[in-house]
Symmetry: C2
Subunit: 341 residues, 2 copies
Amino acid sequence: MVATLRDVARAAGVSPATASRALSSPDLVAPARRALVERAAKDLGYRPNRAARELITGRTGNLCLVVPDLANPFFAGLAKGVQARARELGHAVFVADSDEDPRLEAELVTQLGAQVDGTLLCSPRMSSAALDALVRDNPLVLVNRRHGEVPSVVIDNTDGLRQAVRHLHALGHRRIAYAGGPSGSWSDARRRDGLELAAHGLHRLEVVDLGSFTPTAVGGTAAGDLVAAAGVTAVLAYNDMVALGIVERLRVRGVGVPDDVSVVGYDDTLATLTSPRLTTLAVPLARLGRVAVDLLLDGTADADGRGVASHAPVLPVELVVRGSTAPARPVPPAEPTEAHR
Amino acid sequence: MVATLRDVARAAGVSPATASRALSSPDLVAPARRALVERAAKDLGYRPNRAARELITGRTGNLCLVVPDLANPFFAGLAKGVQARARELGHAVFVADSDEDPRLEAELVTQLGAQVDGTLLCSPRMSSAALDALVRDNPLVLVNRRHGEVPSVVIDNTDGLRQAVRHLHALGHRRIAYAGGPSGSWSDARRRDGLELAAHGLHRLEVVDLGSFTPTAVGGTAAGDLVAAAGVTAVLAYNDMVALGIVERLRVRGVGVPDDVSVVGYDDTLATLTSPRLTTLAVPLARLGRVAVDLLLDGTADADGRGVASHAPVLPVELVVRGSTAPARPVPPAEPTEAHR
DNA sequence: TTGTAAGCGTTATCAA
DNA sequence: TTGATAACGCTTACAA
């Protein structure tokens, strides 16, 4: 049978209470006895029973992370960061995948919430009402979404789009398309805002809204045809997978990237995998996860050892210019203008 | 305060013992009382305290999955399957990522092992000795690796390589390269075996071993140069990321895929993302995860409702032919033979 | 600084 | 079929 605290206490010749203190709050016990207990614990291979501890303290030492789709490299990268930071802080992480179903996300938070100290929720499309309900009885941190006063970590979408637009503008592009993410997605809404701000405010750009697409290469394929028909010289995609879908589809259609159309992705999850390599907005994924954990555990220091400044940090995004963007052709490809029917 | 079993019992006018039975083993209690208890539980919003239950039953209702790298789409897909099946069976899943460090994998199994009913371990490079030690005191199922009598799920690497080799042979390729995975990787060893079997047994193929590479696009880039210098008309890569790295590098070098060299990947995790689309061996990732869970929980039925036949199922792999393979050129590209030295 | 003892919320054992 | 009652392993008042 496995060693219990009583066994340790007996072996060390002290009471269970002292043994408990020696291991959990070492400064409350005299050095001599503490050493005795530590030795006994080691000898017996003692490992505290988490259930018993949880039962009395109410804390589990565990977190949970709920995401829409683990197979999406964005969320996988996030999970990796979360997991790493949680481990540093002595916590384990339940990971749950909702298969892009916001209802299931709520259910998962509720179910898993019962056995964790807090939850990291990444739910771009859950309704505000559902979110409110969850917040009411679960300590949680929102990732990549802001909602009232709920603690959250987001990325600077506005600045990201500003960078992308400025880049394309500098390359001479004047008419660009946006291939959006799932309708209802919080990030997509912010990016649309940022795009409008950047395009109409700072630069004189015409923007064609191509609509909403599944955030996968399949969605990108659909978007690709619209790009070809939109008479644009550049396109911003909701994420890298959509961007690659577009590139692939354009190639099939005989439209060169970047020669005929420049393409900008988002996330930088697939950088090295393609040709031409994708110009994209790099998101500090691992950091996003780490900061979220710090926020949740109310740690006073983040991954870099600095204090978490705010209860709603905004992480920077950085444009990485690679081969998929190039100067606009002097004359954009003619629009397929076969008169209106 | 949250409702406890005592509260439910009181509200239903029965003893705590009866309330417990009514909810956990309904058939042990008279229908009338059972209904009473169920109603009270519902009214009070009763949710059992898992810690208390665990403390006495010794079961947690949780699993854990340990993988080398969540950012690798292979493991992300696996995690997704594991998570889905576990949820169906009422279990939650801790996910831990070792950053490709076998020592950390062992540590994670030990640490998390204390708070789960069992562990799914995906550790391609852990030493046999370390594995033995873990098996000794943790219920675990090995994924993608076989080790003695330990329950495990693997894929049919031998058949996979046979399919790939047969395909290339049929296309007229007679001299092909293999760009291997991390040295020490169990899967890589099996694939090398399979390759030898297929190449020397069934077909008359010459195989050039390019060595071991990091299982990422970066590793593939390095492999790409070796491919170009090897005087082969085709190459098999350890996985899709390596394959894409090779494709990309060859393109930079002016070697056409599939015109000059055919490329075959493994896993089918990146199929739609590239051009030419990758011919690859599709691995049933989600199923791998689901079967592993079934094996661990000793479920009598797997994801498809059939019984898990064996304690070491071998899942089939399927060659998916896409654009990255084509008939060999009549004359392979000349080897760079500038005399020796 | 240490020990005694009372729980935490549940299930399991035993009698009734 | 049901109800007392005793655990499960730990932490924490409270007393000494």
